[in-house]
Symmetry: C2
DNA sequence: GTCTATACCCAGATAGAC
DNA sequence: GTCTATCTGGGTATAGAC
């Protein structure tokens, strides 16, 4: 991978996009929908419109491909979150924007769903990018809450790290509730309930 | 199933426990660890120490067995939660006890993990007990919070349904964060952060 | 009720031709 | 780089004997 050095455009797995790129994107998508155990090399090949030999030429197998896909998804998630985190509003505003960001709730979280995949959690190489992504989100939220405390947005007694974990958990748990209910409603309720708790001070 | 009518004891899949019972319990355990797609009939048979023919005699197949196992797990979860919910403390005390209950955090939630199983979410029969379990938990929490409001434990502005969703979400999301980190710490942080937010009023 | 045999297809990968 | 052939094993179930 990375053998060729052309720039890669976004949007669609158009024919001319390199095979490696299509393989990674397809794997990302399938991991999201079906998880690691539920995703077969054959399914990846079909989604990527690549042959058996092609896939095994670029990747040693399913695990290596999954590693690339999970790392890619982690980078994308961080970058999407940073869009809200790096805004210029108050801490409360930025956190609220992050929480209320438009999301495909019923699809769930690409990273979060991997935590219920035994083969991913068992393999340190596959778990690492999942771990790092959530560590990053929590530490980023911790920083923002600490800022908010300095600006007197939050009470002095508020623990930034704990609160950050709570916020991250509400998002992940919100997805779970929404999928169970097959409706985004519980997700929205959980988010708004949290925003109220954070704002009520 | 239920063909015989002897009482069934708890604890261990002892030899004399009926085959059906061992099959259901083994399936519960495997669904928890590996999910639906990751669990094969053969694995169930081995865990239950039952033969191929035996399993297919009692159940039409994997799906029917999973249905029984998920329903059983749902009943157990509700019953475990009701132990805290039905206590005689204040609303805050009962919710705190529920949140701080001893849990095998790194195993995650048996119900919650099923929401990332595409074959479970797709099949209405399998999703129903998952849905009902979370609906029940949320509505039970809603009731308790409403009680708490009447007793002036919570501010009049607090929305019981939203807050209940937030609480349920923190638990589910806490599991996700803990498994990603391979440590119970983020779970504990998320829980304590929530308790602070609920108590700070 | 439980056993063994059988069946068919898929998972995951390797080998060597082109 | 990509293709097709091939391989071993497992998933999921049915059939019929005991």
């Amino acid at each position: 991978m990375g053998c060729t050095h052309r720039a890669v455009p976004t949007g669609g797995y158009s024919d001319w996009v390199e095979t490696v790129e299509r393989l990674i994107r397809s794997t990302q998508e399938l991991l999201w929908e079906r998880g690691y155990v539920g995703t077969s090399p054959k399914a990846i090949q079909q989604a990527a419109d690549a042959g058996q030999g092609s896939m095994y030429h670029h990747f040693s197998g399913k695990a290596e491909l999954a590693k690339a896909a999970i790392e890619r998804s982690g980078a994308e998630l961080r970058s999407a979150a940073e869009e809200q985190f790096a805004g210029d509003g108050s801490a409360t505003e930025r956190i609220t924007q992050y929480l209320r960001r438009d999301r495909d709730v019923l699809k769930g979280c690409r990273m979060g769903r991997l935590t219920s995949d035994p083969d991913v959690m068992t393999d340190p190489v596959l778990r690492a990018p999942v771990d790092e992504t959530f560590q990053w989100i929590r530490s980023r939220l911790t920083e923002i809450i600490a800022e908010g405390k300095q600006n007197k947005e939050y009470p002095a007694g508020l623990d930034p790290a704990k609160t950050a974990a709570t916020i991250a958990a509400v998002l992940q748990g919100g997805y779970v509730l929404a999928r169970a209910a097959n409706s985004p409603e519980p997700f929205d309720q959980a988010i708004e309930g949290l925003i109220d708790l954070l704002g009520a001070k």
